[in-house]
Symmetry: C2
Subunit: 589 residues, 2 copies
């Protein structure tokens, strides 16, 4: 059982056979057709030779099939990770150079090791630091950067830069060098691919095809665009007219590569590799969970870390670059009927055959077509609805998202992620450090206590009840001291302070210390501290401390009982007669 | 009113006169006597010439009196901040050198600017990152390091190192050079000071003195030790016998100094200055709050940042080094009857007079006596009870404390603080990322729902109720998805999932997205999602989103109503007759 946890194949492999095999083979064929142009395009986006995209789609898939827990996830190069690879490797070598390719291998290895270590140490929770608004903002901004950067290939000009200001400036500066043939191919290919995505499926459905197969046929659009544009280049000899093509791609198995060990280089690439791993993991898990839920299956996030880590290590040793689970390809795989990770393995065989036999056909493929493929793919990542919804729902979350988008667009992808994570954490800490609290009083003729600001309630100047609507931790422990002492400083007649703990799910050591300090300080100024409605698990913990012994007041089970008894005691101390009329007038009988 | 907020003197200054003046003057005289040896000693601990300790006790006090909110806090050099100054400045120049003194000025300025910026931007909550166990562990470890480092002066030998391994090694290696006269003075002075601290007060009380004056007289012990040891040095010509003395101290007003502006140096000192500021702030606020509470006064932490910042800027421009509010001196000030910050200003005048007129008398003061003063002062910081209490109360908090102590002792003060803060935050994030949640069922013959693991409750295989005992944030949003889908994957008959939200105080945008994802994924597997007992403010927020429209189930006011209705609906769908007997058998009528 223990081994099966780390090697999920032992589980699904047992019952493998007939129907499942057929389903997996069909899905693999469809995914392979979709992946060939995409792999080439993303490698190009990452600044790498096109064949590296193919290599990154072979062994990593097999490695994930062995260790991953999702049955339908398709692993390989994806747009955002390709952009991050480009950015990170560009910092150490010019794109396309041997050192750049070496850096991409190191990134894959580091990323694989980071993911495996996180998986083994169960550190997957650290990925939580990437909040939804930050990831969503980052993906949108990355999509815009990627689409803009690909305009250069559509125009047949040069442009550079990791962020929008430089990209746009260089695009405009070089626009005069536009090659009309390239532009024609680029615009036609991009327009065709947009139409395939939006218009082909309804058309097929109108001609009587069912929705699902229509969808899958539409997904094969890019391969048609690739084939037609290759034919166009050959037919009109466009290469001689300045249209850039992919050129000769080696016909080979994925090479066995050993990433360079260079401590300084590893250090420089460590943070980018970390960011890239975590972004890749978060996206991949989200896709995997969506697909698993459709069949009431489960994925195990900590094991997913190991699966994706293994895929990246495999990429590093087989001439690839960083990979993760892709959204589009996984959905296609699932829709095409993939039932087990074996579908992924068959896809790997498909791509392997393509690398061995199809590559000569791709030499005349215009780069502009690949750019069109990328543009169409990434524009679907750009999402302007989520920012609006988040703006309506929560301004702090919107601030984190806006910062991520702005920094990513204006400065670059790594600063963008870091700014988003930093701001999210700062906002979270800030919110945690000042929780909601209310002074409560008793609703007349009931046993309920409500916020004095929102309800007409009965209070007593000698007794103050504060309800805190949050667990007490070190982040709000000092706020608690300040808040309580501030309330007390304003009430000169005060004798009893009750902390109503009905919404407190935990009290850490710092907060315990603060409650003890409050108890001590209140006793210096003649006020007794009481607790009420402490939850069972919290009380169990408090019993391990001295607090309950030292408390100048009592821990009461019910707030109503506390309030009633303390009024009675105070009246006795004041020697004022307790007459039922008096009590009734105060609304508490 | 606005100005008075930033200049608290405008408030207490208005009613100043007669009795208050007398009280403040008496307190100032007592604190001055206590501060003279302490200031010299802490400057020495920081690796600075002794007069710098006096300078740091003059203008900073005045600056704090103008801007600070505590009436009794006494600002100046303190042990832990002196140690941190030594560590930080040693990294850029050898202790005692002109560059070292310049670095101490820069540290004071940076620290002042950091505190002021935090105060103006209301960033005081960032100090919350220093949890109580971390601060407590850090102070204990610093106390041990300081006491150990002072042994060299008691023995009259050389020793170096920021952390215990090097300190102890060099102490042992040089122990053979021990000077017996120095040792005699050191041991006698230290013993005397310990006795003064522990034994003198009871003795004075036995001779008829009241407790409080007895306490104050005992606080003057160090000045007696200083006087006697100066006399001993002169009488027996101990300087010629190798006893190190303070030497000539310039008789002067605090000099006007302008901290060097050197971008690279500032950058290197920025992190140490930040740590030192925040540690100083946390300690100072804690002292100020304790004293303010005794008189039902209030301090304003964000304004305290500005007060302490101003004090450090003043130190930087008057030949001082980083300062903060000290525990011992503030308590003495308070106990001696200080009523306003004017007492601080009078203390400043006292120290100024000492710097001008008393310094010639101090030339023969043996360093060993100062070391004794430090040892006695810092050993009271070393606290072995708190670690035990924290161990009993919370293992994660203990882990953070133990890490802080271990790293501080073994590696150094800055890594110690950073390790503690990092581990506390990681543990907090980890705990926040997996909150307590329970599957609940109905307690028969009641409307209460309780954890199925702890109570005998009624459940239905078609309905699952999950109660989450924590606010939903981006840190636990993914956990929520995993947890819910895991539960659902195990229950094949399931039709309705109820999230019972009675303990949820907030839902951020990431968690909202996760609930939407859960809703969507459950609907893919034919399960409806319901919410129950959503608190008012949470519901107000959710109404700004699409969740309630998209929800496949309903948002129920009461969990009982939800459960009852959904059983009925399921029975109807199953065409099973609803007979009261059947309901009664299930325990819910």
């Amino acid at each position: 059982m223990k081994l099966a946890r780390y090697l999920p194949i032992l589980e699904w492999g047992r019952g493998y056979g007939g129907v499942t095999l057929t389903n997996d083979l069909v899905a693999a064929a469809i995914v392979t057709i979709m992946l060939i142009p995409q792999s080439l395009a993303y490698a190009m986006l990452a600044g790498l030779p096109p064949e590296i995209g193919l290599y990154a789609s072979i062994l990593p898939i097999i490695a994930y099939a062995l260790f991953g827990t999702s049955r339908a996830l398709a692993v390989g190069p994806v747009a955002v990770i390709s952009l991050m690879t480009l950015t990170a490797a560009s910092a150490v070598a010019p794109p396309g150079s041997p050192d750049f390719i070496a850096a991409a291998l190191i990134l894959a290895l580091l990323s694989g090791l980071i993911l495996i270590v996180m998986g083994v140490l169960r550190l997957g929770f650290l990925a939580n630091l990437l909040s939804h608004p930050v990831v969503s903002g980052f993906i949108t901004a990355s999509g815009i950067i990627i689409a803009t950067s690909q305009l250069k290939s559509v125009l047949g000009i040069k442009a550079s830069g990791e962020a929008m200001p430089e990209l746009v400036t260089t695009l405009i500066a070089n626009a005069k060098d536009t090659n009309v043939y390239t532009l024609a191919i680029g615009v036609i290919a991009t327009g065709f691919l947009f139409w395939v995505r939006k218009g082909l499926k309804p058309l097929l459905v109108r001609f009587g095809l069912a929705a699902r197969p229509a969808d899958l046929v539409a997904k094969a659009g890019p391969i048609v665009a690739v084939a037609l544009s290759i034919l166009a280049v050959i037919a009109f000899d466009l290469e001689a007219k300045g249209v850039k093509v992919v050129g000769s791609i080696p016909q080979s198995l994925p090479p066995f590569t050993v990433p360079l060990f260079d401590a300084e280089l590893w250090q420089r690439l460590a943070i980018p590799a970390l960011l890239l791993s975590v972004i890749g993991f978060v996206e991949s898990v989200s896709v995997a969970q969506t697909l698993a839920a459709k069949k009431r299956q489960r994925i195990v996030p900590d094991q997913e870390l190991i699966g994706l880590g293994a895929a990246n290590v495999a990429a590093a040793f087989s001439g690839g670059y960083p990979v993760t689970g892709g959204f589009a390809r996984s959905v296609v795989n699932f829709d095409a009927g993939a039932e087990t990770p074996a579908a992924g393995a068959f896809t790997a065989v498909g791509i392997l055959l393509a690398a061995l036999f199809l590559t000569p056909l791709l030499a005349s493929l215009p780069i502009a077509t690949l750019a069109g493929t990328i543009i169409v793919a990434v524009l679907s990542l750009v999402d302007f609805k989520t920012p609006q919804a988040i703006w309506r729902y929560s301004k702090p979350d919107f601030a984190a998202m806006a910062a991520t988008i702005a920094v990513t667009l204006l400065i670059g992808v790594e600063p963008g992620v870091i700014a988003g994570v930093g701001l999210s954490l700062a906002l979270f800490l800030w919110r945690s450090s000042r929780p909601h609290a209310a002074i409560v009083g008793r609703v007349p003729e009931t046993e309920h206590f409500r916020n004095i600001k929102r309800h007409k309630v009965f209070t007593d100047p000698r007794i103050l009840t504060i309800r805190i609507d949050e667990s007490l931790t070190y982040l709000n422990a000092r706020w608690l001291e300040e808040f309580v002492l501030e309330q007390v400083a304003e009430q000169s007649e005060l004798r009893h302070l009750i902390l109503m703990c009905s919404a407190i799910n935990g009290v850490d050591a710092s907060a315990l210390e603060s409650i003890e300090a409050i108890n001590h300080r209140l006793s210096d100024s003649g006020v007794k501290l009481h607790l009420s409605e402490v939850k069972g698990p919290v009380m169990d913990a408090l019993e391990k401390s001295h607090l309950l012994d030292d408390l100048t007041g009592k821990a009461w089970l019910s707030q109503n009982e506390a309030f009633q008894s303390l009024i009675r005691t105070s009246d006795e101390e004041d020697n004022s007669p307790i007459v039922p009329d008096n009590l009734a007038a105060r609304g508490w009988i």
